[in-house]
Amino acid sequence: MVNSNARNGTLRRGFHLGKLGFNLVGSYLGYQAQNVFLGEAERPLRQARFQRRVSQRAREELGNLKGPAMKLGQLVSMGGGILSLEALEELMNLQMRAPGMHASLARAQFKSTLGKYPEELFREFDPEPFAAASLGQVHRGITRNGEKVAIKIQYPAIRTAIENDFKLLRALTLPTRITGHIPAALLAEVERGMLEETDYLHEAQNVEFFRRELRALTYLSIPRVYHEWSGDRVLTMSFIEGESLREFLGREPGAELRDLVGNRLAEMYYTQLHRLKALHADQQPGNFLFRADGSIGLVDFGCVKRLHLDMSEVLTSIIHRSWQQGEVETRRLLGLLAGPQMPYRRARKLLPLLEDTANFLFPQGPATNPTVDFRAPALIKLAESNSKQLFRDRIYPPEFAFVSRAEAGLCHLLRELGAHVNIAAIWSRITAGGCTGTEGTEWTHGITNRKSQI
């Protein structure tokens, strides 16, 4: 009896594994599913309990992982269904993750891309990765000239996997595309975005664009690309030294240093918005490296968003609270933000949100301290609820949602740092064309200001 039960369980699990195996290399979502499963297996647990839990967990996790795909399916099947922007956005923002590679696979993939093994090209190559990257992992290396490099290697065949998922998605969304509820162009745009991230040659261009355009910020290091050792699935860059935010904070840096770093982070962000009209779209802490002298490293340019929305004008309007200056100004700002398609009445829902944002980031009034304390708990709540509301009410052009999420990422960093930043001052300096970069003298100035005001 017991035996047959066990056999039954085995069969059932076998069935699940079979389903997992079905997606072995064909599907990106399939990879995700397997990652959960294989990841669980590596934890040491007692066999019996483990087996019971694994099959349960796999089911649960698979359900979760299927989220975006399932959501799309539901939306499509809802009859005359509208595959909403949200669903696509969600898909677009799926954390791009790939399975880990052991050294033998990483080396093989390196050779598959560049025709030689890493040891044949570099003086040293560390077979153990030191970081995970979008769709791959990063290894340390040393060139023949003794330069330290970071070598990013992509998991094999990930591009095909994503393409397959979109083939399926296009089949699923055929009815909605016929009725015009979802423009084929939009789907194509999402696919293009995801595929772009799989092309490391494109990422190399991004890196160079940011390196060139942000060179005036002398405290900022962005890696240099080594084209001779890069291809569409391998990217070799100069190694950027620095600590993670946690390590940096672990040394208990003083308030001055934290404020300096915070100001610089804000300057980096707003310079991207204003000058580059493009954003390093992955503002998560792992992509920032910090050093004791206050200089900052920025890495991983797989996802870069070029903005069509004129954020400079939007931000200037927000700072000046243009909605308080009458109907014409309000219409203009909302038109900029929400686009011409959105009815004015619906767009007006944005106003309270803009007001809140303005009050927190750009405090106004004669008695107000313009420097924002990012440790204030209300701030992060605001950033979070803002993007949630934007999402729920669908009162946004996707691009603005994108910017506000990036801004939430910045706020998070600044809060962790506990920095005090005068965003308004930074913004006016950037828009006035004054580029600091000269070892942060103006920051010191900013900090002195704050102190004198306290």
């Binding site: 085995t10 076998g14 997992l20 033998s104 696979l105 598959s112 065949a157």
Partner: protein, 220 residues
């Protein structure tokens, strides 16, 4: 006295002759591989091979009566090279079982890459023509197969002893051999960039396979 001194040079001579023979075999193989890579397996004539190796065509037939014999010798050498490579790779020997097995297939495919067309032709002929000397069931292949199976079996036995997988026995090695063959065929037909599809497939199969063995046991 006389006989003893007589025998010694004779043995030496024989040893030398064996060595010479082995050298000639290797020289012929080198010449043949170059031609196979240039012209393909089928279009390369025995005459061209003997010319390139600098021997008479008749001598070539003494060593390799057919092109299939040449292919057999090639596979033999390849197996030796892979086993030898594995035994000198300290890092791989410390790796997990899926990585070890991945590395073995990958190493063999990597070595075969320059002779892709030749390998394809040889494997195809072997699979499609049961009477061919290259057929997997041909007696001449058995010794090599057994050596391969023993090599894999030993690696699996280590993993069994370390508790990495349950007992899989001889059948485990045999199953892996079939997997290896399947990956070889996939690799030959793989038109993806740098044949990365094969890498991904191998990696996923081996990881899932090892996982199934660990969790579900050998009995299904």
């Amino acid at each position: 006295m006389k006989r003893k001194s007589d025998r010694k040079p004779a043995a030496k001579e024989r040893g030398k002759r064996v060595e010479n023979k082995a050298n000639t075999r290797r020289a012929i193989l080198r010449a043949a591989l170059k031609l196979f890579a240039e012209k393909g397996f089928y279009r390369t004539t025995t005459k061209a091979i003997s010319q390139k190796a600098g021997i008479a065509e008749g001598t070539l037939f003494n060593y390799f009566p057919t092109k299939e014999d040449l292919a057999l010798y090639f596979f033999e050498q390849e197996l030796n090279a892979v086993i030898d490579w594995y035994q000198h790779e300290a890092r791989i020997q410390r790796a997990t079982l899926p990585e070890k097995l991945f590395a073995i297939i990958q190493q063999s495919l990597d070595r075969l890459a320059p002779y892709e067309e030749f390998i394809g032709a040889a494997i195809l002929r072997g699979l499609l023509t049961p009477a061919s000397k290259l057929g997997p069931w041909n007696l001449q292949n058995q010794e090599r197969h057994l050596r391969y199976l023993r090599f894999i079996r030993e690696i699996l036995a280590q993993a069994e002893a370390a508790g990495e997988i349950p007992q899989v026995g001889e059948l485990g090695a045999y199953a892996f051999g079939l997997f290896h063959l399947a990956m070889g065929v996939h690799w030959l037909r793989d038109s993806s960039k740098g044949k990365e599809d094969t890498l991904a497939l191998m990696d996923r199969c081996l990881k899932v396979g090892a996982h199934i063995l660990k969790q579900e046991g050998w009995e299904w």
